[in-house]
């Protein structure tokens, strides 16, 4: 069992987990759920970038991971602000 094999396994696990996150993004009954799904997807993107950088020994991919982390954080903050300023009553009636 070499490092490369376990990197492949980890990539497969991350891909499966990412798929579940996309299902939540599609199904999510209201915007807060979708926001959390988006945040989780950016975390998965960072992890997959790091694993790919390890697998192909390309240090440049780590910069892509850093930039993804920054942009994901800013995006999540903007979505959170949007939720804060919106009307919660509309979503509560959707769930019924």
């Amino acid at each position: 069992m070499t490092l490369d094999f376990w990197l492949e396994v980890l990539l497969a696990v991350m891909a499966f987990s990412l798929m579940i996150c996309f299902v939540r993004l599609y199904l999510g009954p209201n915007p807060p759920n979708r926001t959390v799904a988006f945040d989780t997807i950016t975390s998965h993107a960072i992890g997959i970038f790091a694993l790919l950088a390890m697998r192909s020994k390309a240090a440049a991919l780590l910069d892509a991971a850093i930039v993804t982390a920054v942009l994901g954080f800013v995006g999540t903050v903007m979505l959170a602000r949007y939720i804060e300023q919106s009307n919660l009553q509309d979503w509560e009636s959707d769930e019924e």
């Binding site: 440049a60 910069d63 892509a64 850093i66 930039v67 920054v70 942009l71 954080f73 800013v74 903050v77 903007m78 602000r81 804060e84 300023q85 919106s86 009307n87 919660l88 009553q89």
Partner: protein
């Protein structure tokens, strides 16, 4: 509209993002990076400032720089392209090599062009992000709807 937690994050994270932008800018051309990407990363730092401190404070800090920065950047980029005329044609690159303590440092007109592109991108991004932030603050009055609902419940 000004969050305490976000202000702390802004104080710590904005200089780091600017450093990442400078790093990406200096690495340009031969490896991933360059002026456009560095400009976009710097724009995300400015967006974080807008989110944390509101548009008015950000306009006081960056507003006067936005349009002159874009103009200067365009001038620098065109100037870098025109400098190439010395070397046989429009956009031909001129490289200067410095050697310091055994390390070689290559500077040239491509770097200058990248600097111009970065200035244009940052100036344009400041302008439209500030406009968008102001539009959002006009659309939602100072007291958010959520706070109003909470007050209604307390009554």
């Amino acid at each position: 509209m000004i969050e305490i937690y976000l202000r702390l994050v802004d104080k710590i994270l904005t200089p780091i993002i600017f450093l990442i932008a400078i790093f990406l800018f200096l690495r340009g051309h031969d490896m991933p990076g360059g002026g456009f990407i560095a400009g976009l990363v710097a724009a995300s730092a400015i967006e974080l400032t807008i989110l944390a401190r509101g548009t008015q404070a950000t306009r006081d800090r960056y507003g006067p720089w936005a349009v002159p920065l874009a103009g200067t950047g365009l001038t620098i980029a065109v100037g870098a392209a025109l400098l190439g005329m010395y070397n046989g044609g429009f956009f031909r690159s001129i490289w200067l090599e410095f050697s310091m303590a055994g390390e070689k440092l290559k500077l040239g007109t491509p770097q200058l062009f990248d600097l111009g592109v970065m200035f244009v991108v940052v100036g344009m991004a400041i302008t439209y992000l500030l406009r968008l932030g102001e539009a959002a603050e006009v659309a939602v009055p100072e007291q958010t709807r959520l706070e109003r609902q909470r007050e209604d419940r307390h009554r």
